[in-house]
Amino acid sequence: MAAKRRWEKDRLVWIYQQMVRIREFEEAVKRTFIEHPQVIRGHAHLGDGAEATIVGSLFTRKPSDMVMPSYRCHGYPIVLGTPLKQMMAEIYGRKDGLCRGFGGSMHLADPERHFPGTSGIIGQSIAHATGAAVSAQIKHTDQIVYCFFGDGASKQGAFYESLNMAAIWKLPIIYILENNQYQAYTHFSLEDANAMAGEPLSKKAAAFSMPGRTVDGTDPVAVAEAVGKAARRARAGKGPSLIESKFYRLSAHGNVITVPPLPTQFPEHEAIAVYGNRAEFEEWRAKDPIGQFRARLIEQGTMAEGDAESILQSARDEVAEAVRFALDSPLPAPEEALNYVYA
């Protein structure tokens, strides 16, 4: 019993630690736009606010399970063990990047860690994840697939088509709808018929006679519980589930879209910049999953204040080293662009 408690304690602290590692990484990405202008190109998107959902979900996975999120993809490989150095170098477009500078922020891939890659086209990756579940099913690998996507993506045809196919083929997959309440600059209540009717987005599961459930996405334990149940179902060959994890994106959608060489940075959150609703933003910031979870673990005596600090510190060290590594890594040689077009 004590051993069991101990084990759980470790696991809760592990969750906290991963959440912090993600947050610190994202903060460094965000700071890069100020500290090293032009180093990050195109469009980068942060997962701050999503940490409880990401880590709570992946907490339930077995080592060979596959993870396939959308283009907002930094958090997941961090949990899977991808070196932050390689990730940051990729986001900085360097030769030592995870994808040699070919993909950038939106297209991280680490197949050895069961993270096959992402798509920047909304909703399409839901089908890819479903295909990974076909592989698992056909090869009897006992893997399951964690498919993450946004509230906005649930308005794309690919979402519905995929869920129907997963249901009829009884695929081992969990669909985790990250309802961060915004689709770029649009509040989800402006574009979703369930939301307009005051119903949760997990209602969409009914279209496929699939279990659908909505959880508090700021609480990693609640997420782990719901996703764990879906994982058991998937692993037992009973098919897919849809879980809506509701939380709040804490940064703006992405850095400002502009034409180079104009500088780009992260603007204010859309709640403020677009809707003039600072109250909404502040309300949700107060529910920051990391702050909440930290307080809870300390309060419950699961984690000492000092441990929390050293977790934070070591995450910061790890991220600082990643930034240094990335800045030091050379840009790829131009002619490398001709590689990897065909296998």
């Binding site: 190109r41 070919f102 308005k155 131009p334 077009v341």
Partner: protein, 325 residues
Amino acid sequence: MREMMYGDAIAAAIIEEMQRDESVIFYGQNMAMTDRDPMLKRFGRSRVRIAPISETAETGIAIGAALTGLRPIVELWMSEFMLVAFDQIINEAPRFRYMSGGRVKVPVVFKAGYGFAAGWAGQHSNCLYHSMMGVPGLKVVVPSTPADAKGLLAASIRDDNPVVYLHSYMLTLERGEVPDGEFLIPLGAADVKRTGNDVTIVAIGWMVKKALAAAEQLKEEGISAEVIDPRTLAPLDVNTIVSSVSKTGRLVLVDQAPRHSSAAAVIAAEVSEHGFEYLRAPVRMVTALDTPVPYSTPLENYVLPNEGKIVQAVRSILANQAVAA
């Protein structure tokens, strides 16, 4: 006349056309979010709408609305997002009129930016006009200046056919003189952006600017380049291009797309059939290299066409003549 940015010229055309004709409506994702939106204030929630991330429905709805009396403009943002709805663009909008034996029409504008070559990587930086410019029944417009952006968009909105209006993301902040008020540029008329005698450079969208810069540089070498912007890829003004080649005898095509998915190839083909007798040197295509668009700066620069590559191409076919002579 007023100096304006390319992006603002586009907005001006939409506003003016919506003012002129109340059957024009405008919608898309991430626009008109709040009542403070200026378009919304002017035209109301009925004609200006916010749409979910549902390009198939967005474009299909526009077709249905156009079939029944409206003139929708669909804001699609990046041209790649059309691909999830490509059936609607390629195999629905341009088919209805023909399949009905002329009984219906589909006046719709699909508006999107293209070719955002600024580190957006493999899926957001492409040029897809080649796959639309050959579809009978569809028109494809690619403006390269603020004035063209306005005049061609107004004409697209008034056109009774489906029009894909592709503006270059890279030109959004480009400034230029734009006529005030009603200003229409007919679809199907190429524009000679610079006259010259030694070589014809045909360039599209963002590449027009680069071709003009190359022409300036070539001038210093004593080479006089004519620069033509087709402006609309469908209908394609082959005559203007062939007649320029009849004068210069040489053709360089500049296109941001990879070689085999370029408008350049189609134009080269037309000239190889209809302008062959005038050609004194091989046609040269300056296009993107045959790769997806990579993320990192040196890689991206390497694969895209630029001023230097255009200059090189021109030199090479002038050299070619020297050898032949």
